[in-house]
Symmetry: C2
């Protein structure tokens, strides 16, 4: 049995695979993509908007799938046409995703991952894009950022030939989060930083979205950044929240 086949047989915990839709946030905003959401997370953020891919009580909903099975589903959804695949979670860095990336690349697909930066994987170097989104205090994650681990994520991503496009993304609710983002920018001045207005009404808090409130805080964040003469940052909302609220699978 070849090494490739062995790798493909490791199973990945999958919460959902859906799309194509557009990426609603960050550096790839507006790009058509298929999402692979893995199950399981080493964090417990109070404002998490995907608790169904985090908490153990949902484990029964997660399907153990091989890379081959996942890629077959991606191909079916994308009608065999290469597309950007977004690896999300939960924390997708907990899963053995290298074989999936290899399989997809062979067929012309590209890969981006979104992870909080608490677990570094050597296969980050194979990605086309890497978004690290460490959690500011406002997300309600009980653990402070482990900077060594975040450093290691960057190191691993940069150690190959490919050099994925790396960016940092911080969800902002208030001034405390803003100060955290500034600290991050000072630590990693060479990495493009995206600020995102947080959703204060995630699914487990409310069925509906406070669109006016979201836009108001986006307005605040834009003013905050420009008053500060912080012109190297990018400020974005979550398009999918504005478009589809808390609906899943879109």
């Amino acid at each position: 049995m070849s090494v490739a086949v062995k790798r493909a047989e490791k199973t990945i915990a999958v919460s959902e695979i859906f799309g194509p839709t557009i990426q609603g946030e960050g550096a790839l905003i507006g790009k058509p993509t298929v999402f692979v959401r893995t199950g399981g997370c080493d964090y417990r953020c109070q404002r998490c908007d995907t608790l169904y891919a985090v908490l153990p009580e949902y484990k029964g909903d997660w399907k153990p799938m091989s890379a081959t099975e996942i890629f077959a589903e991606i191909q079916r959804l994308s009608k065999q046409t290469p597309i950007l695949v977004t690896l999300s979670g939960g924390n997708p860095a907990m899963q053995p995703l290298e074989a999936l990336i290899d399989l997809g690349h062979e067929a012309g697909y590209t890969f981006t991952i979104e992870t909080q930066g608490s677990i570094a994987q050597p296969w980050f170097a194979k990605l086309d894009y890497l978004t690290l989104s460490p959690k500011a205090p406002g997300m309600g994650n009980p653990w402070p950022t482990n900077w060594e681990r975040l450093d290691r994520c960057l190191q691993y991503a940069r150690q190959g030939e490919k050099q994925p496009a790396i960016c940092l993304k911080i969800v902002i609710f208030d001034e405390v989060d803003y100060a955290y983002a500034k600290e991050l920018a000072a630590r990693y001045p060479e990495v493009p930083l995206y600020l995102q207005v947080g959703n204060h009404t995630p699914p487990h808090v409310s069925n509906t979205i406070d669109t006016a409130g979201l836009l108001e805080r986006l307005d605040w964040l834009i003013q905050r950044v420009t008053e500060d003469r912080w012109y190297t940052v990018t400020v974005l909302p979550q398009l999918h929240v504005l478009l589809w609220g808390n609906k899943r699978g879109v």
Copy 2:
């Protein structure tokens, strides 16, 4: 008198200079920027959202300014801190903007222009970013696209050392516009293309914005693109319209 000073003395028709705010659309969405809106346009689009920078009856509101004067105002607004400057209109390609770009570059500022591609200027090669947004039929521009002129815009932009990042942007209202965008993609397969949902309630039609209608059409456009397996395109709304409606100077 040096050549540089002579150039700086040509006057530019300015409708407004404002910011910093964020770029609300296209490839630079979310980036802090100062806008310089020039007065005058060779087109007459029925759905134009900046008629005050197009129609001759507003000429009295446009201020003739030198590059030095404009750059002084940009520096004041940005508090002497380098920022992205967005040259917009009207059609900014009608104006002698080379000296302004030179002045700004010396101080670390970067420049992007947004023009419909009907007038090519040699100084396009000096820009950091160039957005060409030829008008699809839905904009209600009475003249068909002059492809030769659009080609020339690309040629001029590519002839220097700098190689600005070039993209195409099409405002989409309906199926006819969508077909136009597809034609454009076929003509320029190497240029990143952005599709933008058109504002069907521009200032001269309505004081308020039909946000629900805009989001509905964004949803339609995303479905249209993904059903078509058109995965190389980017689909975006106009953030500033969602945020601030038809308000000027934000």
